[in-house]
């Protein structure tokens, strides 16, 4: 019998094709698969169906460019506990915590099955957001500093608990859940395709294109719509513009946190032409409404394309100037270098993904390994650094902005050469239904990292489970590690250099 199936990104399969193994076999299979350092967990989640809890794991392999999927089941009437996989696979810890919180499954030998996000439908209602079990250290000189959920700046809420000796942080624990809006269950409740589309755009408002595109790819693949080359190119342009816009905004934030006023103001101002271009394209500075299933609401016309070239030309000149200045400024380097280090080994153990992984010499980029849309045809340059410090997390943004500009020019030429017709709005554009008993896993690379939308449909095509994973889910732990043995005053710049999503984690 097959131990697992192999699928590609956004390739739907019949749910019955996924092998359901005995738990011992499941563990053995997963351990063997993950021995390979080129493989990592995309998601491990469970869903309840007719009294059975089915656990599905999705493992990405970066060399074969495939996703390995396998499953096991528990009869909820009889079993409530299984052995944890954490002793063998540390990076599975968060996924087991999530399953425990949602369904009350006890993972024996898990180091600490703490709540993850306090969802409204959690199993144990005694767990409340104000009684989170923080890790504590005792000692004469040890003190705790609690920050949040509401922070000093205009940002999303989350609680940070520092255990310090003097100004030195010995341990940081991050408690999230304040942003929980019930997104995953709303995908099941909201029946109209447009509602689901709007919902996908609202998962994380700073990664609209990545989440919307992940949703679109999942739905389009499952209903059998093949987008034209033209649509694929313009979607790819949107992804890269979003990357540039947020990266340059983050560089401004990092400069603010190290009190480098020139960088703060100039990077901040440079974000404006990019998001204003997105606004001139689709009417919204965050690209909400830009992407839809099955058609192109805002085709990139010749006028828009030439405007894009102008915007990029002016942007690039001004950007290179301030970025060269910033990254050669001794006072900037002094604050960023060797601050908040996360090592490659720590990154691999915790399962870091996306941009953060690439600052620790872990080459994980869905655009390159599990390509989608126009990334299948032409790939952007790779950016990878190895120090894992705040400098690397800033510099990688610089590299990626430059790569993206270069790549967008390639995309523009490809679009100009395209002879496809615009796939315009048609009557009954939302009139599709999802086929029955399908599983599809759709991955995109947001500026943060891998973004997964996975859909499982039931016997009448209803959505049994809609699972979302933002790269933040994997990377919050890296921020906690980065702060160890750092000054507590370095927290703001460390936090900004990660810039993880609260709502993308809390869902």
């Amino acid at each position: 019998m097959k131990k697992y199936i192999q699928i590609s990104n956004a390739e739907p399969v019949d749910i019955h094709d996924v092998p359901v193994l005995r738990y011992e076999d499941f563990c053995d299979t997963v351990i063997v698969l993950l021995k390979d350092t080129q493989a990592h967990i995309i998601s491990y989640h469970a869903y309840k169906h007719q009294g059975v809890l089915r656990f599905i794991i999705i493992i990405a392999h970066d060399k074969t460019c495939l996703l390995y999927v396998t499953a096991h089941e528990l009869y909820l009437q009889f079993f409530k506990a299984i052995h944890s996989l954490v002793p063998d696979i540390p990076s599975i810890a968060m996924y087991e915590r999530e399953i425990c919180e949602n369904y009350g499954i006890d993972f024996i030998d898990h180091p600490w099955l703490k709540p993850v996000r306090y969802p409204h439908n959690r199993k144990n209602k005694l767990h409340e957001i104000f009684n989170y079990p923080f890790f504590t250290i005792s000692g004469d000189e040890v003190h705790e500093v609690g920050v949040g959920p509401i922070h000093a700046g205009v940002i999303e809420p989350g609680h940070f608990r520092f255990v310090c000796v003097g100004e030195n942080v010995k341990h940081l624990e991050i408690q999230l859940g304040y942003q929980h809006r019930g997104v995953e269950s709303l995908f099941i409740d909201k029946l109209h395709p447009l509602q689901r589309m709007i919902l996908a755009e609202s998962v994380a408002g700073d990664a609209v294109v990545a989440h919307a595109l992940a949703h679109i790819m999942a739905v389009e693949s499952i209903i059998g719509y093949i987008p034209t080359n033209r649509i694929q190119i313009s979607r790819t342009i949107a992804s890269e513009l979003e990357r540039i816009a947020v990266h340059v905004g983050d560089l401004s934030g990092i400069c603010t946190d190290i009190a480098y006023q020139l960088g703060s103001a100039v990077f901040g101002a440079l974000r404006t032409p990019i998001i204003n271009y997105i606004q001139s394209w689709c009417g919204n500075r965050f690209a909400k409404g830009l992407l839809r299933v099955g058609y192109e609401p805002y085709p990139l016309t010749t006028a828009l394309l030439s405007n894009l070239k102008n915007v990029l030309q002016v942007f690039e000149k001004k950007y290179v100037e301030i970025s060269d200045k910033t990254f050669s400024q001794p006072n900037v380097l002094n604050r960023l270098q060797k601050t908040g280090i996360v090592t490659t080994e720590q990154g691999l153990l915790t399962g870091a993904t996306g941009m953060i992984a690439r600052t620790m010499d872990i080459n994980r980029d869905i655009r390159l390994t599990h390509s989608y849309q126009y990334y299948l045809t032409s790939k952007p340059d790779k950016a990878i650094l190895e120090d894992g410090d705040t400098y690397a997390r800033s510099k990688i943004r610089d590299l990626e902005i430059r790569n993206s500009i270069k790549y967008i020019y390639t995309l523009i030429s490809a679009l100009e050469a395209s002879t496809d017709n615009f796939d315009k709005y048609r009557d009954n554009i939302f009139g599709y239904t999802l086929p029955a008993n399908k599983l599809v896993v759709s991955l995109t690379e947001s500026w943060r990292g891998e973004t997964m939308h996975a859909i499982i449909t039931g016997t009448t095509g209803e959505i049994l489970q809609y699972k979302i994973k933002d790269a933040s889910f994997n990377n919050w732990i890296a921020l906690a590690i980065a702060l160890r043995n750092n000054e507590i005053s370095d927290f703001p710049v460390c936090n900004k250099s990660f810039d993880l999503s609260y709502c993308g984690h809390d869902l």
Binding site: V154, Y178, G182, Q195, A204, G205, C282, G283, F286, K317
Partner: protein, 262 residues
């Protein structure tokens, strides 16, 4: 060298600020302006768009669009055509009267602040300076980015004496974004209680005003919003910085003084 290249960068940036924040014209493609609804829409058409609307912002018989619920996806405009429903580039859509956000057929007047409802102390005490504490309660970070942008070199809200502060003790009011999650309910209340009176409440974004696409989710608890009277509704998904700044200026009547003074 040090000063020379710094000077070069500053020179290349030029003047970034918008001289008169009440005047900029957004492109016609702007999606989050005030809609205009034609009175030629038939009952069937009204029913069709009402059914299509993802957040039930559109009512049929007679047709109207509630900007407090609208997520500005413009699918209704796309379905019926620009001649029937058209979202204009008029971004001045903030108001203190919830009913002013409901746009009926043939309405083509700008959305105004209802002067009769503005509390006296708001203009008297906050007319010269207003400090705000922002609270994200389930906001998806787009509204937060836009509120931050209000203080950048382009929009520069600080020149009008309006800014965001870290401590609620220093604030004159709160700005809420997001649909208000149950998990943030307590923190929101504690923060609001810590703001000294008199104080104002501003709701930024459709999610905050009505819950938006999240309305009805079991993970929300909107008692706080229903308990207090709201001083300013700023629609948008997310609200444009121009919408927010102009709304606040209208509320505290800073604009007239400023224009006559400059």
């Amino acid at each position: 060298m040090f000063f020379l290249d710094t000077y070069q960068i500053i020179k290349h940036q030029g003047k970034q600020y918008i001289p008169d924040i009440t005047k900029p014209v957004l492109p016609d493609t702007y999606a989050m302006g005030r809609p205009v609804i034609s009175n030629t829409i038939t009952d069937d058409e009204a029913k069709a768009v009402a059914k299509l609307c993802p957040t039930s912002a559109i009512s049929d018989t007679p047709i109207s669009i509630d900007l407090g619920k609208c997520v500005f996806c413009k699918e209704c405009e796309r379905m019926l055509g620009e001649k029937k429903i058209h979202f204009t580039n008029d971004y001045k859509i903030a108001t203190n009267n919830r009913n002013n956000l409901i746009i009926n057929a043939s309405d083509n007047a700008t959305i105004q602040i209802d002067d009769n409802v503005v509390r006296k102390e708001i203009r008297k005490i906050f007319g010269h300076s207003l400090r705000l504490r922002q609270i994200s309660a389930g906001g998806d970070n787009s509204t937060e980015w836009e509120l931050n942008a209000c203080s950048n070199v382009n929009f520069d809200m600080g020149r009008y004496g309006i800014s965001f502060v870290a401590s609620p003790r220093h604030a004159d009011g709160i700005v809420i974004s997001g649909p208000v999650t149950a998990n943030m309910e307590e923190a929101l209340q504690i923060c609001f209680d810590a703001v000294p009176a008199p104080k104002i409440i501003i709701l930024a974004g459709t999610d905050a005003i009505s819950g938006g696409i999240f309305a009805g989710s079991a993970a929300l608890r909107r008692d706080f919003i229903n308990k207090y009277s709201i001083d300013l509704f700023v629609p948008g998904n997310p609200p444009h910085p121009l919408t927010f700044i102009n709304g606040v200026l209208d509320l505290i009547k800073k604009k007239n003084k400023l224009l006559s003074g400059m």
